[in-house]
């Protein structure tokens, strides 16, 4: 299990390959990448985080995923600081003997990471002005998504 919180850009393809190469007898590898969208006039975003707690929260979420599904490994990388459209914000990767576990765990990691890992996004428009920048509001849909995982300890 590897949890990385960093401001530097990372090479998602190289991370996927390194993650896959480290596995043994894991038939299924699922990855998710989140990319900054430029529609809506976004020029850049700043991602704030809570050093210490962020790593801790991501570790707890990844550990929970390993408890719920039959996984060989989990990788989470999340950037903070300044990002522009087209840049990769974060990625998760899961490795499992079977594809259903790899898919469910990656989906779960994303749902929890969205609403339970301490990151906050501030969006800057084309004018780049701080006074016009806005904090992204949490979506009700993201909170509602968590209810999908309640109840059964394994699906």
């Amino acid at each position: 299990m590897r949890i990385v919180v960093e401001d530097a850009a990372f090479d998602a393809g190289a991370e996927v390959n390194a993650f896959a190469a480290a596995q043994r007898d894991m038939g299924a590898i699922v990855t998710f990448q989140g990319v900054v969208r430029g529609d809506g006039g976004l020029a850049r975003m700043e991602i704030e985080h809570y050093p210490g707690m962020t790593e801790r929260a991501l570790t707890a979420i990844a550990t929970e995923a390993r408890d719920r599904w039959n996984l060989g490994d989990v990788l989470v990388i999340h950037r903070h600081g300044r990002l522009t459209p087209g840049e990769v914000i974060m990625m998760v990767a899961t490795a499992a003997p079977h594809r259903a576990d790899a898919f469910a765990a990656a989906d779960y990691l994303m749902d929890y990471l969205k609403s339970r890992a301490p990151f906050w996004k501030k969006e800057y428009g084309a004018d780049g002005a701080a006074e016009n920048a806005t904090w992204v509001a949490a979506k009700d849909a993201d909170e509602a998504a968590l209810t999908r995982w309640q109840g059964a300890s394994n699906e």
Binding site: G34, Y50, M53, S115, P118, W120, W135, A138, E143
Partner: protein, 83 residues
């Protein structure tokens, strides 16, 4: 007791600083919030609607009724928007 209080995102911006060390006798997070609101308008503005806020005690997400006995660090922030 001495406690570190941290603020993130728009809570940090409204209060005007990222962290401070306070001496408090607050028994719970809610008591600490009540103390802060009394201090200055900028705190009152930041904590005007605590349902819009989240709190972590010693880096674990928790509720406003959490006791502060033994806590070293309390953080206030809006709902998280990672991913």
């Amino acid at each position: 007791m001495m406690i570190d209080v941290l603020y993130f995102a728009w809570v940090r911006e409204r209060i005007g600083l990222p962290r401070e060390r306070l001496t408090t006798d607050a028994a719970t997070v809610a008591d600490l919030v009540a103390e802060l609101i009394q201090r200055e308008d900028r705190y009152a503005a930041a904590f005007a609607d605590v349902t819009a806020l989240r709190v972590a005690v010693d880096q674990v997400l928790t509720g406003f009724d959490t006791p502060l006995a033994g806590a070293r660090e309390v953080a206030f922030f809006p709902p998280m928007t990672g991913g």
